[in-house]
C-alpha cells in the first residue's frame, strides 16, 4: 500500500469524522461548562431565597408587624440569592459564548492544520538553511 493511499485515508478521516468529532467535543465542553456553573439548577432557582433561608409567615395574619418583617426578610433573601446566582449565571453564559466564538477559529485551524504543518516545516527548514 502506497503512502499516497494512507495519506488519502488519513485526510478523509481528518475532514470527515474528525470534523464531526470536533462538534461533539464542542458539545461536551458546553455541557461541561453548563454543569460546572450549575446553570440548569441556578436558572431553576434564580429567584429562590439564598440557601433556602426563609421564614414561615405567622398563622395569625392580624399581626401585621410580624407578617411584614417576615416578608422583608424573605424578600431580602431572594434578592441576595438572585444577585449571587446572576453573577454565576453570567460567568457561565460568558464562558459558553467565548467557547462558541472559539469554535469557528478551532474549525478553521483544524481544516488548515495539514497546510499549517507543511508551512511550519518548510519555514523551519528554510530558516535552518538561511
Amino acid at each position: 500500500m502506497g503512502i499516497v493511499t494512507i495519506l488519502i485515508d488519513y485526510l478523509l478521516w481528518h475532514y470527515s469524522k474528525a470534523v464531526m468529532s470536533l462538534f461533539v467535543v464542542y458539545r461536551n465542553f458546553c455541557l461541561f461548562l453548563s454543569n460546572f456553573f450549575s446553570l440548569p439548577l441556578l436558572f431553576r432557582t434564580w429567584l429562590s431565597p439564598w440557601r433556602r433561608l426563609d421564614e414561615g409567615y405567622p398563622k395569625n395574619f392580624t399581626d401585621i408587624e410580624s407578617v411584614l418583617s417576615t416578608l422583608v426578610l424573605n424578600l431580602l433573601m431572594r434578592v441576595v440569592g438572585f444577585i449571587m446566582r446572576t453573577v454565576v449565571i453570567s460567568a457561565g453564559l460568558l464562558s459558553i459564548i467565548i467557547l462558541t466564538a472559539l469554535l469557528p477559529l478551532a474549525l478553521i485551524i483544524w481544516l488548515l492544520l495539514p497546510l499549517i504543518i507543511i508551512f511550519l516545516f518548510c519555514l523551519g527548514v528554510g530558516l535552518l538553511f538561511v
Binding site: D9, S21, F32, F37, R52, L53
Partner: protein, 830 residues
Amino acid sequence: MNTITDLIHKSRLYPVLVLDRLISPGKRQKIIYLSRVIIVVLGLILAFYLSKNYLPAFLVDYLSLVLALKNKILGLLLINLSIFIVAILLEVYFSSFYYLELIAKNLYRSEDIFTMTVGRILYGAKTDDLLVGFLQSDIGGQIMRRLGIGRPTIDLFLATSPSPVSAMLLAQTDGPVIKLKDLAKYLFDQSPAFREFLLSHSAKEIDFLGATKWIVLGIELSIWKSRWWELDNLSRVPSLARDWSYGGTYHLDMYSRDLLKDREVDSLADTPTNRQAEMDQLETILSRSREANALLVGEAGPDKMNTIYHLAHQIKQGQAVTALTDKRPVLLEVSLLSASCKEKNIFEQTILAIFSEATKAGNILLVIDDLANLVAIADKYGANLISLIDPYLASNTLQVIALCDTDNFHRFIESRASLMMLFEKIALADLSSEAITEMLLQAVWLVENNFNLFFTYQAVTEIASGASYYFPDSIGSDKAIDLLTEIAPWATSASLQIVDVSAVRSFIQNKTNIPIGEVTAKEKDKLLNLESILSSRVIGQREAVSAVASAVRRSRAGVRNPSKPIGSFLFLGPTGVGKTETAKALAATFFNNENELYRLDMSEYHGTDAVDKLIGSFSTGNTGVLSTMVRDHPYGVILLDEFEKTTPAVLNIFLPIFDEGFFSDMNGKRVSVKNIIFIATSNAGADLIWELVEKNPDQAISRSVLIDAIVERGIYKPELLNRFDATVIFRPLGEAELAKIAELQLKKLAKRLMEKGLTLEITSELVSSVAKNGADQIFGARPMLRYIQDQVEQQVADKMIAGEIVAGSKFSFIASTLSPTGLEIKVKNL
C-alpha cells in the same frame, strides 16, 4: 480462501494498520516526548533572545551565540513543532478507532470486520498461521505473560512447529466484528497443541479467556483515560454554587459526615465496585417520587458502607441517575447521636430537628449508618421512632438509606411491620468467586504499580477463591482485597517479582497453617510414609491409621470435596485403645501442631439446652461453644469426645456440618467448618467389639455387624453414620501392643530424665511390668501413664531427694519381691 491477508485487505482498517505499523505506538510516544522537550528548550532559548533588552549586560554577552544562531534555532523549533503536531494528530487518529471499540460496540460498519486490537495482531502476522501471529504479537505476549508464560517458553513452543491455524473459520461470536476474545477462543478450539501447551502451564481455557479479557480491559481503560475531552471525563470536575439553592443543616451536621467531602469517597476514584446490581436497585428506589427510602441489609463488615461510598462517588462525579443529581449524601452516625442524647425528650427533639432540617434543605440523601442501633436507642428511651420519622420519610424532598447488619435486621427490624413499610429492603448478596475476581483484576494494577510486582491471572483467581474458601467468615470482596494488599508486601519482602499461584498458596499456607502449596520433596516423603509416622505414635491400630492417612493424602492432593469439612471420622472402640492419640497425631501431622486439636466433651451436652449450649441461643443471646470454637480456630482438628453421650437433637446438628461444611448459629449466620477435621470418638458397641475379638482374636472385626448393632440399639441413625468419611474401628489392645505402648511411654520418661542428666535404662522387665500392671481390660492403656507416674517416677523422685540419684547417675528397674510394686530401682554407677 479466507487467509489473514484476505481479512486484512477486506478491512476498512487496512490503511490505519499500515500506518500504525509504520509508526508504532512506542515510536509515537517517543516522538511526542522528544519533540516536546526540544520545543521547550528551544523556546526558552528564544525567550532569552527576545528579552535581551531587559537582561543584565553580562548575561547578554553569553547570548552572543544565540544571537548568531537565532534563525537556526527558530527553524529547529518550527520543524519540531510540526513533528509534534503530526505525532499528536496520529495519536488522536488511532485513538478514534480504538474509541469505536469502546463506545460504538453496536455501531460497527460492516466493512470493519475486526477490532483495531485484532487488526494489529493480524497485520503483524508474518505468515498465514494465526497461532504464530498471535503468539509473536505484542498483545499475545502480554496475555501469555499474564498466564505466567514468558517469551522464552513461547519461543520453545513455537520451535516444536505446532500445526498452523488458518483464519478460514475465524468469525465473530457476538456483535458484528471479530474481537480479541473471539480470536482467543478460536485459537484455543482450533489448535490442540496450543491447548496442551497452555494446560501444561496450568492455564485452562477459562484462564486464557479471562487473561484476554483482562488485557482488553486494560487497553480500554487506558484509551478512555487518555481521552480527557470526553463528557464522562470532563464531568469529574465538581460544580460551583450547587448548595446555594438548598438549605443548611445545622443539627444534622453535628451528628453526621458530608460524604461529598469525605476522604473515603475520594479514595474510591479508581476502585471498581462489584455491587453494581445493588447500586442500580438503590438508584431505582431513590428515584421514586415519594417514599424513596431503602434499607440495605448485609453481613457485618464494610461492604454496605463501601456501596454507599461508591454511590456518593457517582453523585459527586455527576454519573448518578437524574433523581440523585445535586443530592448531598450525608451519613448520620447513630453512635454520635446516642452519645449526645441522654434523655427521651432530648432524643426526640434531636431526631425531629435532624429530619425536619434534612427535609427542608431539599437536597439531602440521608444515610443512617445503623438503623438497628437507632431503633434500640429509641426503645431504651421509650420513644416511638416510627411516629417521629414517618412524616419525613413519606415526603418527596427527603431520601433515606438505612444500613443494617443481617443479624440485627432479624432481631430488631424484621418484626416491626410499620417500620418495614417505610423502607424497601435490599439484601447484599454473597459475591461469587467470579465477581470477586473481576473486581480484583482492576485493583491489581494499582498494587502492581505501588509494589513493582507482576500478578499472573491464575494468582488473582487463586486470591479470589482462597478468600472465600479459607476465610469464609469474612466478607468475600473485602477479604480478597485484604489478601491482595497483604500478599504484595509479603512478596516484596520475599524478593518475588512475579506473584503466581504457588506464591499465593504459600502465603495462605503461612497465614492459615493449612498445607495447600505445592508438595515439597520433604512433605512428599512425609505423606507417602504417613502410615508409618502415625503408627509410631498409635500402636496396634493399622486400620484406623490407614483410613486417616488416606483422608489426609486426599485433602493434600486437592481432590477432596471442597464443600465439606477436610475430613470427618467416627472412631469406635473401647477406652484406652488410642482414639484420642490418633486425633492428636493427626493434628500434629496435618497442621504441624498438636495444639490445633480442640476438644468438646459431648457428654456435657445432654440436657434440654444442649443445642443452645453448642450453637448459641437467640432468646438469651448467648453464643455457642462450637460456634465460638470454629470462629476462633477455623483451621484444626475438633475432637467430639464420647459422641454417643449427647442428645439426638445435637447429633442432628452434625448432619449438615458433615454434609455441607457449615451450620447456622443462633442468629442464623452461617459458620463454615470447611477447614476443620472432625473426629468423633465413641465407646458405642465396645462390648460387641470385645465379644467379637474374644471369639476370633485373629480376624478383623466385621464393620457391618458392629454398625448394624449400633443402629439397632438406636445409638446413631444410619444417615449420621453415612455422613462420616470413615467409620474406623479400634481393636482392643493385645499384650504385645500394650508392651509397645509401655515402652513408648517409658522412652518419653527417659527423655525427660535425660534432660536432668539422669539415664534410665529401659529393661524388658520394666516394660513388661508396666504393660502388665499399668493396663486393664476395661480402660485399655489409659491407666498406664498413671501407673508410670505412681510407681516409676515416684521411686526416682524419692531416690533423688535422698541423694542416691544425682546428675550423671545411670539406673534401671529390676523385679523385686520386697517392693510392693514389684519393681526396685538399681543404681548402676556414678
